[in-house]
Amino acid sequence: MSTQQAKTQNLTLVQAVRDGLKCEMERDDDVIVLGEDVGKNGGVFRATEGLYDEFGEDRVIDTPLAESGIVGTSIGMAAYGLRPVPEIQFSGFMYPAFDQIVSHAARLRSRSRGRFTCPMVVRAPYGGGIRAPEHHAESKEAIYVHEAGLKVVIPSTPYDTKGLLAASIRDPDPVIFLEPKLIYRAFRDEVPEESYTVELGEAATRREGDDISIFTWGAMTRPTLEAAESVAEDGIDCEVIDMRTLSPMDTDAIIDSFKKTGRAVIVHEAPKTGGLAGEITATIQENALYYQEAPINRVTGFDVPYPLYALEDYYLPENTRIEDAIRETYEA
């Protein structure tokens, strides 16, 4: 922010998405938004509301129903010099575009040794908890993190959302930007009116503590903080780190915190097996094994297809499960 008195608005996370898009579109004519229902309808979550009227149908484009088409044409646009921000309606519908994402977006720079690049941001709401139909609740950040050439960002506050989205749009490389739709409207933040960036690749310490490090992101940040407060009553002092960018991952933040506490819990809503908790665990023990005092605890979704909503509350990690894991790790 350029001034101390920067004007702010009180925004929800999804409003911050919209505001971030708007500011970047004002700043740079090359930024365009495209996807299913992003135009007149303003997006099924209203994340692009008003942009169609403000920027016109050449910059806010309703596309045919075809995700590979949306991402593949965006790659062509990006290679040709625009900065497309395609929206995929739900992250569970990114799969038809998976080939374009991993075979092309992630590799264009490498394939052409830098002659062509892919400054594209694929936005998609992700995660569960809103009683939606099947495939509307996935959290598959791990598969994008495993793909070199992509960056992966997941904000957890309105302020970060706007700043991380701006940084992603200005980034010269492709970014998968996953928005925790469970907290799209859960709370508000003071968000500057002017544009600003929150740097990619930097985790945020949401709570400082000495006893246990908890690494989390997205919609899991809130129940994690609640659990941390709850165990604080029993004298367990948690440090809660919101990773924010999953790729590149802020390994320094992980290691530094762990060296301080010697104990860790990792919380994510994706299924356990093959989830990023494994990556974080490996990172810790490669770099800080000799500080470790207890097994690292993974609090995650179960290894099942995300259930329809009658069972989803059992699937999702929440305060109680997180608290339980913290205590177990503290006592171990």
């Binding site: 309808n41 099924v44 099947e134 356990k272």
Partner: protein, 371 residues
């Protein structure tokens, strides 16, 4: 029997009289009344389902009103051994295939058990657009390879025609002559995206040309015409003789049907169509409403009178009310189901996870665990 070109097939005018020169499909009175009853049932079910959602008794629900003619007309053309591969909006077609209304409700109430209908020849609802086109092609192919003589009717929307899977599914069907009928419910909108923006081709039916088989355009709000073209297409999918003009080696042939219709309501209960379409447009399409059209036809033929219609009305209200009662009395699924449905047998890790969850439930109780 051939349906050449892309003229719109119609049997009933908007007023319910028979189109000049059209042949009325040979259906006995009972069947015609059942067609009418099912459309009415579907319309009523739909409005009750929308209220359930509004009252918080059900999750997001995709209404079908306006589309009864296409669903009922097409599904009634199926024979016992044929299969339906539905999209998510096919509540009326599913009902005809043997899915109870209570099961449809159960599914949209977030319970997978509603999607499991042993004995009914219907695939489960799957939400990803157009993906089921490949399953229909594959299942039809499997049936053909195994010497079966049944056909597969696959429903999807106008938006679905833009997806790669639509293309690949129809292409495979054309190459391998699988006994499938691809039924496009062109309801003019894919959420907020109008048909013209979905593709630049004049009709969706003409896309069949790319796959070497026939495309048929039909008034999707005319249940008799829908029945007729579906029946013909199923015939061609099963019987080489019905294909007629094709060369040697070409046994049966698939067909793409475009049923032109309109969704009167919202895309789903989460959608507000007033943002993207005009009231006028809705009114214009309401004049084609399939229910009064068939009603007029049946009254004109003396098959139905006001009294009969009255008792149909009472009966369907009862049927829907009972379905709601039934579904609301079903106990919620157990968390264990989640772990049991992944593989034929639980893996060790799933066992551990299921045990862990049970321990948590015991330790904290469901209320605390789920807040």
């Amino acid at each position: 029997m051939s349906t050449s070109g892309y003229e719109m097939r119609q049997v009933l005018t908007e007023d319910g009289s028979v189109v000049e020169g059209a042949t009325v499909p040979e259906l006995d009175d009972e069947t015609l009344v059942e067609m009418y009853r099912t459309m009415r049932l579907a319309r009523h079910f739909d409005s009750r389902a929308v209220s359930l959602q509004r009252q918080g008794r059900m999750g997001t629900y995709p209404p079908l009103s306006g589309q009864e003619g296409a669903q009922v007309g097409s599904a009634m053309a199926l024979e016992t051994d044929d299969w339906l591969v539905p999209s998510y909006r096919e509540h009326a077609a599913s009902y005809i295939r043997g899915v109870k209304l209570s099961q449809t409700l159960q599914y949209w109430m977030g319970d997978e058990r509603g999607n499991s209908v042993p004995g009914a020849n219907i695939f489960p609802v799957a939400v990803p657009i157009a993906t089921q086109v490949l399953h229909a092609t594959g299942a039809a192919w499997a049936s053909k390879l195994s010497g079966g003589e049944n056909a597969f009717l696959c429903h999807f929307g106008d938006g679905a025609t833009s997806e790669g899977d639509f293309h690949e599914g129809l292409n495979f069907a054309g190459v391998f002559d699988v006994p499938a009928v691809f039924f496009c419910n062109n309801n003019q909108w894919a959420i907020s995206v109008p048909r013209e923006r979905q593709t630049a081709s004049k009709t969706l039916a003409q896309k069949a040309n790319a796959y070497g088989f026939e495309g048929v355009l039909v008034d999707g709000m005319d249940p008799l015409a829908v029945y007729q073209v579906t029946d013909e297409a199923l015939e061609k999918a099963k019987d080489p003789e019905a294909v007629g003009d094709d060369g040697p080696g070409r046994a049966t042939r698939p067909t793409l049907i475009e049923a032109v219709q309109y969704r009167f309501g919202a895309h789903t209960t989460a959608d507000d169509p007033s943002v993207y379409r005009e009231k006028d447009e809705v009114e214009r399409w309401k004049r084609k409403d399939p229910i009064p059209r068939l009603e007029t036809f049946l009254r004109d033929r003396g098959i139905l009178d006001s009294e009969a219609i009255g008792s149909i009305e009472t009966a369907i209200e009862d049927e829907v009310a009972t379905a709601i009662e039934t579904v609301e009395s079903i106990e919620r699924p157990m968390p264990a189901e989640m772990f049991d449905a992944v593989y034929a047998e639980r893996t060790k890790r799933l066992d551990e996870q299921a045990t862990y969850l049970e321990q948590l439930r015991e330790r904290y109780g469901d209320d605390e665990l789920l807040e």
